[in-house]
C-alpha cells in the first residue's frame, strides 16, 4: 500500500525538484525537516477543519488563516504535508500532470507528436505542499529559462518554478499579508486562470497551475489586499488558547517532540495514518454526497440576507458543506453541516460597514438563526 510509505521517503520526493544537484543542502534539509505531527496539535479546530476540507475538495479555494502570534499557524500548515493523500501523475512530470493533462499539454505544443498513452508510466506521489517564501523572486515563482543549460549546452530549456511544483497541490505563503505586491499580482492572475504563462528568450511556456492557496498571517502586521482576500475560499481565525490545561499539554507535547522527534513521530504514526485514511475515505465519498433544494435555497437566502455580492459565497458554502458532510461520513448535506462551516466561508465576504460594531461571525450566526427558525416554522 502506498499509504504506508515511510515518512522520510515522502519528504525526499517532495524535495527532489527543489534540491536538484544541491546534494549538500538536500542532506541537511532531511535532518531538520521533521514537522510536528498534525494530529498532535492541540486546539485550533477551525484552522484544522478548514485545511482538511480543502484536501477533501480542493475546489473550495484554499484557506486564509489569520490570527494571533505564536498560535501555531505555520506549524499546523507545515504539518499538513504528512496527512495528505496521494495523487497519480505521469512519472517524473515536473507539473504533476495526470495522463490526460500530460497528453493534452505535450501534444498541443508546437510540433507536438501524438503520444501513445500506453508508453507513459504513472507514479503515486503525496499531494505536493510548496512553500512560497516572502523573498522569492518572480522568476523562481513562475519559472524561467534554465541558465545553466543555456550556458553549458546552448539549449533554451524551461526551468519550472514554484507554481509548477504546486500544481494539483498546496501553495503555502506564511505572512501572506506582507507579500510583495507584484507577486500578489502574479498569484491573482494564475489563480484566476489556473494556468501559468511564461514568455522568455523567444520561447513561450504555458502549463497548468491549479493549487490550493493557503495563507497565514497576523492582521496587526498589515492587511491583505481585498482582491487577494476574495480569492481564499475559507477564512479561519485563530486566537490565543486560554484554557490552561490545553496550554499545559501544548508545552508538554512540544517538549517531548523537541527531546526526541523520531520517537514522537512514531508515537503519533497510527493517528496520522488514521486521519490520512479518514480524509481519503471522505474524498472517495464526496461524489456521492447530495444536497436538497431546500438546503440550497436556505444557503442562497443566507447569502442574500447578508448582502454578499456575487455567487462565490453560495458556491463556497455549497462545496464546503459537501466536503464537511463527507468528512463526517454522511451522504446528505443538512443545515447543521452548513451551520458549522458558514462562518468560515462568509466571514471575509461581508461588506465592510465602518459603523458596524457587530463581529462578522456574530452577524452570520444571527442570520443563520433567523433562517433556521424560518425553516423550522414552515
Amino acid at each position: 500500500m502506498t499509504q504506508t510509505e515511510p515518512v522520510a521517503k515522502k519528504t525526499a520526493a517532495k524535495k527532489t525538484v527543489a534540491a536538484k544537484a544541491k546534494t549538500e543542502s538536500a542532506v541537511k534539509k532531511k535532518k531538520s525537516g521533521l514537522a510536528f505531527p498534525f494530529t498532535a496539535i492541540v486546539g485550533q479546530e477551525e484552522m484544522k477543519l478548514s485545511l482538511i476540507l480543502n484536501i477533501i475538495d480542493p475546489r473550495i479555494g484554499g484557506v486564509l488563516v489569520m490570527g494571533h502570534r505564536g498560535t501555531g499557524k505555520s506549524t499546523t500548515v507545515r504539518a499538513l504535508a504528512e496527512v495528505l493523500p496521494f495523487i497519480e501523475r505521469v512519472a517524473g512530470d515536473t507539473y504533476n500532470r495526470t495522463v490526460e493533462q500530460y497528453l493534452e499539454g505535450e501534444e498541443g505544443k508546437k510540433g507536438g507528436k501524438p503520444i501513445d498513452p500506453a508508453t507513459l508510466k504513472v507514479e503515486q506521489i503525496p499531494v505536493p505542499v510548496v512553500d512560497l517564501p516572502l523573498g522569492a523572486t518572480e522568476d523562481r515563482v513562475c519559472g524561467t529559462i534554465d541558465i545553466e543549460q543555456a550556458l553549458t549546452s546552448g539549449v533554451k530549456a524551461f526551468e519550472p518554478g514554484l507554481l509548477a511544483q504546486a500544481n494539483r497541490g498546496f501553495l503555502y505563503i506564511d505572512e501572506v499579508n506582507l507579500l510583495d505586491d507584484h507577486l500578489v499580482d502574479v498569484l491573482l492572475d494564475v489563480a484566476a486562470s489556473g494556468k501559468n504563462v511564461v514568455e522568455r528568450e523567444g520561447i513561450s511556456i504555458r502549463h497548468p497551475a491549479r493549487f490550493v492557496l493557503v495563507g497565514s498571517g497576523n492582521p496587526e502586521e498589515g492587511e491583505l489586499r481585498p482582491q487577494l482576500l476574495d480569492r481564499f475560499g475559507l477564512h479561519a481565525r485563530i486566537i490565543t488558547i486560554l484554557d490552561i490545561e490545553k496550554r499545559v499539554s501544548i508545552v508538554k507535547l512540544r517538549r517531548e517532540f523537541d527531546d526526541d522527534p523520531d520517537a514522537f513521530m512514531d508515537k503519533y504514526n497510527k493517528e496520522q495514518q488514521k486521519l490520512q485514511k479518514k480524509i481519503q475515505t471522505a474524498k472517495d465519498l464526496l461524489s456521492k454526497v447530495t444536497m436538497t433544494d431546500e438546503v440550497l435555497t436556505d444557503i442562497a437566502r443566507l447569502c442574500m440576507n447578508l448582502g454578499i455580492d456575487g455567487h462565490r459565497g453560495e458556491l463556497t458554502i455549497t462545496r464546503t458543506a459537501h466536503a464537511h458532510a463527507a468528512y463526517k461520513g454522511e451522504t446528505v448535506v443538512t443545515m447543521q453541516h452548513v451551520k458549522e462551516i458558514a462562518g468560515l466561508c462568509l466571514r471575509h465576504r461581508l461588506r465592510k460597514d465602518p459603523l458596524e460594531t457587530l463581529d462578522a461571525g456574530e452577524k452570520i450566526d444571527r442570520e443563520l438563526a433567523k433562517i433556521l427558525g424560518e425553516a423550522e416554522a414552515v
Partner: protein, 618 residues
C-alpha cells in the same frame, strides 16, 4: 574588546545571555537600553561565553535582500561560467549568533526574512533561478534604543528573552568604572574568569536534560502569562525553557521558585499588556460558578471565540487556586514597579508598523532588489540586467548572424531589463485627533467614528499611515502611533472612552511631536484630521503640572493659536471636522481650521466621501 566578565552592571542582560548560552532553543535575547549603556559591547562580548568557533555574525542595518537570504555570487559566476551560490547572512549565522544592533531600525522586509528563518530553522532561497534550502538555525541577539521606535511584535514573539528596560546609569560613570576595573586587573585575570564562566555554562548545558519541571509549575507559569495578558501560546514554551535553563545554571535538577521568577521576569513581564493586581482583585469579587473545562469541543469547530483574552475568560480560568500560583503572583507584585505598563514592550507595541508602512516602488528610497520590468517605468538596474543577458550572448549572436543583422558587442533584449525596486516609507501620515471630551455628545462620537473609519479604509487602500490621538481630561494621548493597521485603529476607536475637559493644545502639541518623529522616519507629508468642537478648555500646563493654575480663555486661545501657526508653518496640512451643535457654535472650529491653514467641515452635513476627498486632495 571588553570581555563579558569585565562589563559592569547590566546584570539582568548578562543573566539573559547566560540562559541563552545554556539553551539556544530560547531563540534569542533582546536588550532594549538607552544610548551608551554598553548594551552592544555586552552583546558582542556574548561570543566570549560561547564555545569556540561558534559563528557570530553581525547584521548590517542596510543589508539587501540577496545578502540576507543568499543568491548568485556574481564574481564567481562570471569567472567560472557556472552558477555559484553565495550563502546569505542568515545561513552564515547557522549554529551561532546573529547579532543586530539597533534592531528597531531594521527594515521591515529584513525583519520578515529573519522571522521566517527563525520559524523554519532554515532559509528558502527561491530567487534568480536558484532553488535551495540553507540551514539557518541561529540565536538572535538584538539591542536597540527604545527611543528609536519599537521592534515588531511578530519578531519579538520568536525571541525567548526580552530584558526588561532598566533606568540608565550615567554613561560616563560607567565608562570610568570599566576603565578602573580594567586598570587594576590584568589579562590573565580576565582569561581565568572567562574560562570559569565557560566551564560553568558547559556544566549547565550538561545538566539541562536532567532538569525536571512539574505540571503544577508549568500551570502556574501559564496562569501568569494569562494574567499578564500575554498574547500567543509560543511564549509558554519559552517561559518553561527559561525556568529550566535557570535551574541548570544553578546545577539543580528541579525547577524552583527562583527559576520561575527569573523566567517570568525575562520572558513574560516584558510582554505584559496589563497589570496582574487588578485582575486579582476583580476576580475575587464574583462568586465562582462555572466549573472549569466549560468549553464544548464543537463550539470551536463552528466559530472561533470572537474576542481577545478578556477578563471574563480569565475568571473562568482562575478556578483552581493554587499555592504555587499565589506565590507567583506575590513574587510578581514584588518585582513589578508600579508603572509596569511603561516598562513593558507590549504596551508600546503599537509603535511598530507592518511592512505595508514601507511600500516598494520604482523611484525613490533605498534600493532593495531588482525585478523584470519596463525600462521606462523605473531606473534600470545595470548589473542585474547584464547578468541576465550574459548567458544568452552566444545563442543570440548566432541567431543575429543568421538573421543578417549587424554585429554588436552586447545583445540585450527587453526581457533582460531589470529595474530597481526601492523601499520607501509611504508618503502620507494621517494623524487623527479625536476630541473625546464630555462635550462630545455620544451620537456625535458615533458619527465621528464613522467618518474616521471611512478615512481609515481609504488610507489603507492608498498605503498611507495613520496615527490616532485622543484628547480628554488633562491631556492628549497617543492611542495608535503611526502604523498601517486599520484594524487596530478601528479597535482603538471602538473602545474610546469619553468625558472630561478638552485639552486641545495638548493634542496639537502631541500631534506635532508625532509628525516630527515620523519625518525622521521618511514620512514626507503629514495631515492632521481634527475631530472636535474646537472649544479647548484645558491648557498645556496641565500636561506637566497636576495642579495647574486655571488658565483664562484668552490664554488658552493664544496657546492654541501659537501652536496652530507653528504647525502650519512647519508644513503640516490639516482638516477640521466640526462636531459642534449648530445653535451652540461660536465659530471655534472654523477659527481653528483657519489658524491651521486647513479645510473645515461641519460634521452633520459632511458626507464621509467628501471628507475623504478633501483629505486626499491636499
Amino acid at each position: 574588546m571588553i570581555a563579558f566578565t569585565d562589563i559592569v552592571g547590566m546584570d539582568l542582560a548578562k543573566q539573559a545571555l547566560m540562559l541563552l548560552a545554556v539553551d539556544s532553543e530560547l531563540g534569542g535575547v533582546v536588550i532594549p537600553s538607552a544610548v551608551g549603556s554598553g548594551k552592544s559591547t555586552l552583546a558582542r562580548a556574548f561570543a566570549d561565553i560561547l564555545p569556540e568557533s561558534t559563528p557570530f555574525v553581525e547584521l548590517p542595518l542596510n543589508v539587501t535582500e540577496d545578502r540576507l537570504i543568499g543568491g548568485v555570487d556574481l564574481e564567481a559566476t562570471l569567472a567560472t561560467g557556472l552558477r555559484v551560490v553565495q550563502h546569505g547572512v542568515l545561513s552564515k549565522a547557522h549554529r551561532g549568533v546573529l547579532y543586530v544592533d539597533s534592531l528597531s531600525l531594521l527594515d521591515s522586509s529584513a525583519v520578515s526574512h529573519i522571522m521566517d528563518a527563525m520559524s523554519r530553522g532554515e532559509v528558502l532561497v527561491e530567487r534568480e533561478g536558484l532553488s535551495e534550502v540553507h540551514p539557518a538555525k541561529f540565536m538572535l541577539v538584538g539591542t536597540y534604543d527604545p527611543s528609536d521606535g519599537e521592534v515588531r511584535m511578530g519578531l519579538l514573539d520568536r525571541i525567548g528573552i526580552i530584558v526588561p528596560f532598566t533606568a540608565q546609569n550615567d554613561y560616563r560613570a560607567r565608562k570610568k568604572i570599566v576603565k578602573m576595573v580594567l586598570g587594576t586587573r590584568d589579562a590573565e585575570d580576565t582569561r581565568d574568569e572567562l574560562n570559569m564562566l565557560a566551564g560553568f555554562i558547559n556544566a549547565a548545558k550538561e545538566q539541562l536534560p536532567h532538569v525536571s519541571i512539574t505540571d503544577d509549575q508549568i500551570r502556574a507559569l501559564i496562569q501568569t502569562a494569562i494574567s499578564l495578558g500575554v498574547e500567543g501560546n509560543r511564549v509558554d514554551i519559552f517561559t518553561v525553557r527559561a525556568a529550566i535553563a535557570s535551574a541548570a545554571l544553578a546545577q539543580r535538577s528541579d525547577v524552583d521558585e527562583e527559576d520561575m521568577k527569573q523566567a517570568i521576569k525575562l520572558v513574560l513581564i516584558p510582554r505584559a499588556t496589563r497589570m496582574p493586581e487588578k485582575e486579582a482583585e476583580s476576580n475575587e469579587a464574583p462568586p465562582q460558578e462555572e466549573p472549569p473545562q466549560q468549553e464544548e469541543p464543537e463550539a470551536e469547530d463552528q466559530e472561533a471565540p470572537s474576542d481577545t483574552p478578556d477578563a471574563e475568560a480569565e475568571e473562568e480560568q482562575k478556578e483552581t487556586p493554587d499555592m504555587i500560583e499565589e506565590l507567583m503572583m506575590e513574587a510578581i507584585e514584588m518585582e513589578l514597579p508600579d508603572n509596569i505598563l511603561n516598562i513593558s514592550l507590549a504596551s508600546k507595541k503599537k509603535a511598530t508598523t507592518g511592512s505595508r508602512g514601507e511600500a516598494l516602488n520604482n523611484k525613490r528610497g533605498r534600493f532593495v532588489r531588482s525585478q523584470p520590468g519596463d525600462m521606462r517605468s523605473g531606473k534600470v538596474a545595470l548589473i542585474p540586467t547584464l547578468i541576465s543577458a550574459a548567458p544568452w550572448q552566444e545563442t543570440r549572436r548566432r541567431d543575429s548572424k543568421m538573421a543578417g543583422r549587424p554585429k554588436t558587442a552586447l545583445l540585450i533584449t527587453k526581457d533582460d531589463v531589470k529595474i530597481k525596486r526601492f523601499r520607501d516609507k509611504s508618503g502620507t501620515l494621517f494623524i487623527f485627533m479625536v476630541d473625546a471630551s464630555g462635550s462630545m455628545a455620544l451620537n456625535r462620537m458615533r458619527q465621528a467614528k464613522g467618518a474616521v473609519a471611512s478615512l481609515l479604509q481609504n488610507a489603507y487602500v492608498h498605503r498611507d499611515q495613520v496615527a490616532l490621538i485622543s484628547f480628554r481630561g488633562k491631556q492628549a494621548q497617543v492611542l495608535l502611533p503611526p502604523s498601517q493597521s486599520v484594524d487596530r485603529a478601528k479597535r482603538e476607536l471602538d473602545v474610546l472612552p469619553t468625558g472630561g475637559g478638552t485639552p486641545l493644545a495638548s493634542a496639537l502639541y502631541l500631534g506635532w511631536e508625532t509628525a516630527k518623529q515620523a519625518r525622521t522616519k521618511g514620512i514626507t507629508q503629514v495631515m492632521f484630521v481634527l475631530i472636535t468642537d474646537g472649544r479647548g478648555n484645558i491648557g498645556l500646563q496641565a500636561t506637566f503640572d497636576p495642579t495647574p493654575e486655571k488658565a483664562t480663555k484668552e490664554e488658552l486661545e493664544k496657546e492654541v493659536e501659537a501652536l496652530s501657526l507653528s504647525i502650519q508653518a512647519d508644513g503640516v496640512a490639516a482638516i477640521v471636522i466640526d462636531t459642534q451643535m449648530n445653535y451652540l457654535s461660536r465659530g471655534e472650529a472654523p477659527r481653528l481650521a483657519q489658524k491651521l491653514g486647513g479645510r473645515y467641515f461641519y460634521l452633520p452635513n459632511a458626507k464621509a466621501e467628501q471628507i475623504v476627498e478633501a483629505a486626499l486632495s491636499f
